[in-house]
């Protein structure tokens, strides 16, 4: 369970009081700490666009993925479907054109630098879920020439589809292959599939880059990320800066892995094995 009932209701109540703004998201992960939420909420609207982490942030959003739970493969499909629907992600036939926010791959490809040919069969066959790592020091935000991708004070690496010029420097810089480019108009397959679109999230246009956004739009409404809502036993989302958060608890108790730590990007996605 990513967040207990009490914690959630309290956060939801605070969000209702605060109105449906970005503030709600911070309340959600910092129950009781309204001063801090004011501060963070404020800087969110201010100049905090530069992607520079303040010393000891009060909110550092992160995801822990309980990979062992994914032996039940239906959960992978459920999570992917939830994300696809929440973000109107098109399905292309060609692998070259794919738009992927969250997807599965094997240990060997997820951790190529620590690949071990004598790995336990159980781990080798597990479907690891890949997504944007929301790095603490994101190379994509460093290279973007227009700050279309940037790190928010809460740690989310966001993408502005309306500012992106489509130079794809971020795709070259991301060591995790987490970014997708709209090579064609994404509305074509959405229309062809006859999918029911989520009116609360924009479809994109061709020529811009996109990726997982930790459901920043849902957090702003006081909701949990779509994947967390779909499988709360697999996706554990919370505030790393709060030692009492659920994610910190589970990271204390279980062995976790992160991708390509040697590059110093400090990923915020943890794999529990």
């Amino acid at each position: 369970m990513s967040m207990d009932r009490r914690e959630f209701l309290k956060a939801a109540g605070l969000s209702a009081v605060a109105g449906l703004g970005a503030k709600g998201a911070f309340d959600l992960f910092m129950p009781g700490d309204v001063d801090a939420s004011e501060h963070e909420g404020h800087s969110e609207h201010g100049e905090g666009h530069g992607g520079v982490a303040e010393a000891g942030p009060k909110v550092r959003l992160a995801m822990a993925i309980d990979v062992l739970q994914l032996k039940d493969h239906s959960k992978v499909d459920k999570i992917r479907a939830a994300c696809d629907n929440a973000h109107n992600i098109p399905h292309w036939d060609s692998k070259d054109d794919e738009i992927k926010w969250i997807w599965e791959d094997e240990y060997e490809h997820v951790f190529p630098d620590t690949h071990n040919e004598y790995l336990a069969d159980e781990v080798r066959e597990l479907p690891f879920l890949l997504m944007c790592n929301h790095c603490d020091d994101p190379p994509c935000a460093r290279v973007c020439p227009v700050e279309a991708t940037f790190k928010r004070p809460d740690g989310i690496v966001a993408q502005d589809y309306h500012r992106c010029i489509g130079c794809r420097f971020c795709m070259a810089a991301c060591p995790y292959g987490s970014r997708s480019f709209n090579w064609f108009d994404p509305r074509i397959p959405l229309k062809a599939e006859g999918r029911k679109l989520n009116p609360r999230f924009p479809t994109r246009m061709r020529g811009v880059v996109e990726k997982c956004n930790f459901c920043v739009e849902r957090l702003a409404e006081g909701k949990k990320p779509a994947c967390v809502e779909a499988c709360p036993d697999v996706m554990i989302f919370g505030n790393l800066a709060d030692p009492n958060s659920n994610i910190r608890k589970v990271l204390r108790e279980r062995v976790s892995l992160r991708r390509k730590l040697e590059l110093g990007t400090k990923p915020s996605v943890f794999y529990l094995v």
């Binding site: 020439p145 292959g177 108009d185 020529g207």
Partner: protein, 386 residues
């Protein structure tokens, strides 16, 4: 002075209209790309940069090559270069124009291009690349035009142009250094993450730019009365030779570090480019040809008896030009994406419209160069008569 581009032989006009025809075909292809998206190219989620960015990178080098004439002429007063330095500067103008066009055709939302100015981002290397490339274009227009105009009037170069000439020297180094930083500063792409990227870029640039200049100077002597001192051409050829030796030397540094350290991530892209990786080898033929051409070029240019014969000289510099074009204008960019972050392999091959767009940008470069060389030649011919 510009009006001199409008007076030419039927052959001149035939060439201009041929280039315009190529450009218009490429422009149609670009409109098709603009309408449908960059999906009409061979690029993919894994190979997210292709021939456009690779060619961009190569021509930044060609542009920077002009400095190999500016330094001897203006810092060492090597007067044999006095009449040809402007031809180097005009190559730089044409090459930077091509670079800017390659960037424009590569971006997904060209209408938002000016966001780079609207939201200047000093932590992005592309921000600096924009500044240095546009600056270099402006400097070469100022210097090339004004020095030529002074020659036309039979006057010495005006004093106010001098600072721009000196500025052009570090500026030329900067354009290719910053372009190397686009690659050398990103984590997780093993082929690119190397400190010798910028030095190697400069070495190959100082081989490629002057090679092109020699070919063009030999050609313009066939179609005009302008005569270049053969010793000047020999000096440029020696520069090409030394620069290419340094380039190949630095490439062997890359091979040594990768293969002697045995670190798989460092070996993989080189293995892909030169030997094939897990059965994927679409670039192996090109890269081996490039390496062979590099050695042939060095061999020819090193031997004075060969270098002094125009036929061999052309073969030598053409080999160097093609070797660097394949190495930097194809292999470097594609090799950086292979293997991908999941250690799997997606290959790349350019599509017809993509190739047509690239060719039409070459044609734009050739057109700019033709017009500029027409001006320069008319002034030089007058000087020779007088």
């Amino acid at each position: 002075m510009i009006e001199r581009a409008l007076k030419g032989s039927p052959k001149y006009w035939g060439w201009v209209f041929f280039l315009l025809a190529v450009i218009s075909v490429g422009f149609m292809c670009y409109l098709y790309q603009l309408k449908n998206g960059l999906g009409i190219t061979g690029m993919s989620r894994d190979i997210s940069w292709g021939v456009y960015i690779a060619q961009f990178t190569y021509f930044v080098g060609v542009a920077a090559g002009a400095v190999m004439l500016v330094i001897p002429k203006y810092l060492h007063h090597y007067q044999k270069y006095a009449k040809i330095v402007v031809f180097g500067e005009f190559i730089a103008i044409a090459a930077v124009t091509m670079c800017l066009l390659f960037i424009i055709v590569d971006i997904g939302q060209p209408m938002r291009m000016l966001n780079v100015l609207l939201h200047p981002t000093p932590h992005s290397m592309l921000f600096y690349d924009m500044i240095v490339l546009n600056g270099y274009l402006a400097i070469n227009i100022i210097v090339g035009y004004n020095t030529l105009l002074a020659d036309k009037k039979g006057l010495p170069c005006p004093g106010w142009v001098k600072p721009f000439i000196y500025l052009s020297i570090p500026w030329a180094i900067s354009i290719h250094t910053v372009t190397a930083f686009l690659y050398a500063g990103v984590p997780g792409r093993h082929l690119w993450l190397t400190a010798v990227m910028a030095p190697r870029f400069l070495a190959s640039a100082f081989a490629a730019g002057p090679s092109l200049l020699i070919m063009l100077l030999l050609f313009v002597q066939k179609v005009s009365k302008f005569r270049v001192d053969p010793e000047a051409i020999q000096s440029v050829a020696k520069t090409v030779c030394y620069a290419m030796i340094v380039n190949v030397f630095l490439m062997f540094m890359e091979f040594f570090t990768a293969y002697y350290s045995h670190i798989p991530g460092h070996i993989a892209p080189l293995e892909y480019l030169f030997f094939g990786l897990h059965g994927h080898d679409s670039l192996v033929g090109f890269m081996r040809f490039s390496m062979l051409a590099g050695f042939v070029g060095i061999g020819i240019l090193l031997v004075p008896a060969l270098r002094r014969q125009n036929g061999w000289l052309i073969a030598g510099v053409a080999s160097v030009f093609i070797a660097t074009l394949i190495d930097k204008g194809v292999g470097l960019v594609i090799g950086g994406f292979i293997p991908n972050p999941f250690e799997t392999i997606t290959e790349y091959s350019a599509t017809m419209p993509e190739i047509m767009i690239a060719i039409s940008i070459w044609a734009v470069g050739a057109l700019v160069l033709t017009i500029l060389y027409k001006l320069a030649l008319s002034v030089r011919e007058e000087q020779q008569i007088a």
